[in-house]
């Protein structure tokens, strides 16, 4: 296990703001993604997808499609042996068997010489559907008598929740109630709620609603599959976890894991949307059927129609507070729409909402609801932006009702280390108060009254400022790493960790610092599932915390082995040795020593008695490190059109220890802009038949450079006791606070409190007009 480094050894790399090593490759277009691969004989795949949200499949006729020249295979469910009738997860439903449960569900698959031919073949497949009533809105779907989504007896899938964060389940139960579409429930409570509300002076009740949003990675899902003569499957995949993909594909297709090699290609963005298998199983099936490599790249339309977006969340929140500011009571329903298959991170929302601010009496009821829509997956801090949108807005409303400063009100009630969470777990050390204090010191916050005083003057619109605090409890997952000393005195670090966030450079910095080498002598290799040590998902803000720890320990192990070999050779005591400038020397006697290269060479020499230096670490983890961020927006609203212009935006984040500040800033800025998108422009819109009304990037609006100001970043460091060099995960916290910060800013500017996202110009303009 990692400990905070206590050493006089000079830190060689940790804390330096260094560009990623793969920068030159990326700016010259040399980096390879799945769609860039084109092995000989490769075929193109297309899927035929259901036009109905809920229907029975009466008949599929593929004869005309098969007859089209250039078509090499047409597959339906009947052609896939071992397909489970009751698919336990969405990925198991490779092709629909006799029922479709969301618009866009794959019904048939084609492999052809050209994509255009594959598309034409899909046109020629005849499917007879019997359309059934669909459950489209989660509030309706929760009711008794709603059209049922799951096959009776399908288990709730809590694997996503467990993979993402270790927050102990608040008694998450899988038993369906009489309302058949409630697939998971949770309830936590403490104290006497009725009494507490009765004693409250101010009771505020609001419903917060956040639509489904797409993770929005620029690279659509893609997979390339090829079988060899021995029945070994190789999968090149755009994935956040090669070992996870391997396990899923093995289970889905009934293969041994050793039969599959997953080669993680550069991932063009994942953000939680590329954790679960999606394209890999069907691509593998087509490759088997044709005996040729098959490549399947989703179109953007398919991604939006039938990807695995973030869930819609509806939070009914009622809070009670006394006139003197004492928090009394919190009552909440958190309803998470999971789409057609269970898999929401239900407990995080339920626990967070009553854990961040100290309510002595609370009851939170969580529901996962199935609907006839594509099933959901994680998106950077899943359910946290939604949950903090609700609780932070509510804290602000209470502060305003009481006439107290909203920062002081938050600070007064914010939890700290040792306080109990809603599920009884104790909060670990965290920087929530520090980031809040730091952002409140920012001139934009201090001068907010001067800004709002400009409303309506000199051609200005309505001016306001808002802030919010939010965070995440990063997950844990066992992992492994090796550190090898090469015959030239350089190091090679091997992990299986997909580098989606630039973590490789940070891992190199950690290895360099721990071993005692300069950074340019360290190479990080990401191995495929055949060669790399087992590792977990690149998700849950845990790569540096876990893999960084493994690399740290493996580097220390390699250092120890190196010093042992040198000590024997130099007849010195290990405690007296140092590694400096590529040599092992006796402290204080720098001109005598042995080079690392000589030790490395000896470990690979014919007849040598010196073993090769191979540092190994394969840890599991128990201690989490919560990570918090605070965000502030200074805005101006056009009162007639409702357009919001963000003049300034600030992110303050506790990184524990910024291993690579350049990388950390990038995560903060990217996450903040995703957060602003959720707040202002994004949302998947479905019609009453469960059809997506905005399946293109024209109408699914991600923010452009012209919509944004520079995102100012301030890194705070509250060391995580168990993090490598004190580091915490940084990927997820920045996506959390902006919806609340912007709703607070809109309220400040206009007097209007919006509780439904996005805060679109229409919502703002019509609310202003109705004031």
């Amino acid at each position: 296990m990692a400990t905070v480094m206590k050493t006089t050894r000079e830190v060689k790399g940790v804390g330096l703001a260094i560009p990623r090593a793969d920068g030159a490759e990326k700016v010259t277009g040399k980096t390879e993604y799945v769609a860039d691969l084109k092995p000989k004989g490769m075929l193109h795949a297309k899927l035929l997808r259901s036009p109905h949200a809920h229907a029975r499949i009466k008949r599929i006729d593929v004869s005309k499609a098969k007859a089209l020249p250039g078509v090499r295979a047409v597959i339906v469910a009947a052609d896939i042996p071992g397909l489970k009738k009751k698919a336990p997860t969405r990925a198991h439903a490779v092709l629909a068997i006799d029922r479709v449960v969301f618009v866009g569900q794959p019904v048939a698959a084609v492999a052809a010489d050209e994509p255009a031919i594959a598309e034409e073949a899909c046109d020629l497949i005849q499917v007879d559907y019997e359309v059934l009533p669909a459950a489209v809105d989660p509030l309706g779907a929760m009711q008794v008598g709603a059209p049922p989504v799951a096959e009776a007896g399908t288990e709730a899938d809590t694997s996503e929740a467990l993979a993402h964060s270790g927050v102990a389940a608040a008694k998450s139960e899988a038993k369906p109630s009489k309302a058949v579409n409630i697939s998971q429930q949770a309830k936590i409570n403490r104290g006497d709620l009725a009494k507490a509300f009765a004693e409250s002076d101010v009771v505020i009740e609001k419903t917060y609603r956040i639509p489904m949003v797409h993770q929005g990675y620029l690279e659509p899902h893609a997979a390339l599959a090829q079988w060899d003569q021995q029945g070994q499957l190789t999968l090149w995949s755009s994935t956040q976890g090669s070992f996870n993909t391997r396990s899923e594909v093995a289970d889905i297709l009934g293969l041994e894991e050793n039969q599959i090699k997953v080669i993680p290609m550069e991932c063009g963005g994942g953000f939680g949307g590329k954790i679960r298998a999606l394209c890999e199983p069907i691509t593998a099936v087509l490759a088997k059927a044709t005996g040729r490599p098959v490549r399947y790249v989703m179109t953007r339309r398919e991604e939006l129609d039938a990807g695995n977006p973030a869930p819609q969340v509806i939070i009914k929140l009622k809070t009670g507070v006394k006139r003197d500011g004492t928090l009394m009571a919190l009552d909440a329903d958190t309803i998470i729409e999971s789409g057609a298959f269970s898999g929401a991170v239900l407990t995080m929302s339920a626990v967070f909402i009553a854990s961040v601010y100290k309510f002595p009496n609370f009851e939170v009821r969580g529901f996962e609801v199935l609907t006839h829509k594509p099933s959901i997956a994680a998106y950077r801090a899943p359910t946290a932006p939604h949950t903090f949108f609700a609780i932070d807005s509510q804290m602000e409303l209470m502060a305003q009702a009481l006439g107290v400063d909203s920062v002081e009100f938050r600070m007064r009630h914010l939890m700290q280390e040792g306080d109990p969470m809603a599920n009884g777990q104790k909060w670990q050390s965290n920087g929530a108060k520090q980031v809040l204090a730091r952002i409140a010191e920012h001139p934009l916050w201090k001068n907010r009254k001067a800004w709002s005083a400009q409303s309506g003057k000199n051609g200005r619109g309505l001016c306001g400022t808002g802030l919010a605090v939010g965070g995440w409890i990063p997950g844990l997952q066992p992992t492994g790493a090796t550190v090898r000393l090469n015959p030239d005195g350089s190091l090679t670090v091997l992990t299986g960790q997909v580098d989606i966030a630039g973590t490789n450079i940070a891992l190199a910095q950690i290895a360099a610092s721990a071993y005692g080498l300069d950074l340019d002598k360290v190479k990080i290799t990401t191995g495929d599932t055949d060669v790399a040590p087992m590792t977990g998902l690149s998700a849950g803000s845990k790569t540096i915390y876990t893999v960084g720890t493994a690399v740290l320990e493996a580097a220390k192990d390699a250092r120890k082995q190196t010093l042992q070999i040198a000590a024997a050779e130099m007849e010195a005591a290990i405690e007296d040795l140092e590694i400096e400038d590529g040599r092992v020397v006796v402290r204080g006697v720098p001109d005598k020593g042995v080079t690392l290269a000589s030790i490395g060479k000896k470990g690979n020499l014919y007849m040598s008695k010196v073993p090769p230096v191979l540092g190994v670490s394969h840890p599991a983890f128990a201690v989490q490190a919560p990570a918090f961020a605070a965000e502030l927006a200074k805005i101006e609203i056009d009162p007639d059109t409702g357009e919001t212009k963000i003049h300034d935006f600030v992110v303050v984040q506790d990184a524990g220890k910024a291993i690579n500040p350049l990388g950390v800033e990038g995560q903060m800025q990217g996450g903040a802009v995703q957060s602003i998108g959720i707040a202002l422009t994004e949302g998947m819109m479905y019609d009453k038949n469960g059809r997506l009304m905005n399946p293109s990037l024209l109408d699914y609006r991600k923010l452009t450079a012209a919509d944004l100001p520079n995102i100012e970043t301030i890194i705070v460091e509250v060391p995580a006791p168990a993090g490598p060099f004190g580091a915490r995960g940084v990927g997820e916290p920045p996506i959390v606070p902006a919806p609340a910060a912007l709703a607070n800013a809109v309220h400040d500017a206009t007097g209007v409190r919006l509780t439904e996202l996005p805060l679109s110009p229409e919502r703002i303009a019509l609310a202003i007009a109705a004031r």
Binding site: G23, A24, K26, T28, G269, R300, I500, E665, Q669, I711
Partner: protein
């Protein structure tokens, strides 16, 4: 379907290849010429990941049929700088830590090169509008803007 000959110039070199009439320029660059720098992020001109220069102007190549490039000149990210050297924009992107997943980068650089060709000393607003057609989900654009502004200071800029 019969293929036809497409003759054009790509990254300064004359090219003659057989193409299908319904192939887009993006498809042909990537699949036939194996210039995989330009990416398909959406196929409908809404993300900019496929941005190349057509007769010196930035366009979304997913919306251009290959045959529409006949007799014209195409420049992709692979042709932005001479082999071995980085264009000042590419160098600035690397040093500022711009590329994260990297998928938007080739298109963004081609758009940025056009911004500098049109505005040798661009304001922040000119840069932002100049790359507004390039969606990026990883970076939030801030470092990209800073890198472009810095590259504008470098001597040999203005070369598209």
């Amino acid at each position: 379907m019969a293929k036809t000959v497409l003759s054009c110039t790509v990254n300064g070199e004359a090219v003659e290849i057989l193409v299908q009439p319904y192939d887009t320029l993006l498809d042909i660059l990537r699949e036939e010429l194996r210039l995989t720098g330009p990416k398909e992020g959406c196929g409908t001109g809404d993300c900019g990941a496929c941005t190349i220069h057509l007769d010196g102007k930035p366009v979304t190549s997913c919306l251009v049929l290959g045959m529409q490039a006949r007799g014209r000149s195409v420049t992709t990210i692979e042709g932005l700088a001479k082999t071995g050297a980085l264009h000042p924009l590419q160098d600035a992107f690397v040093r500022h830590g711009v590329p994260q997943c990297g998928f938007c980068i080739p298109g963004a650089l081609m758009a940025a090169a056009s911004v500098l060709a049109e505005h040798p000393k661009p304001t922040e607003e000119e840069i932002r509008y100049g790359i507004a057609g390039n969606l990026c989900r990883c970076t939030g654009y801030t470092k990209m803007i800073a890198a472009i502004a810095e590259a504008a200071q470098a001597p040999a800029t203005g070369r598209a």
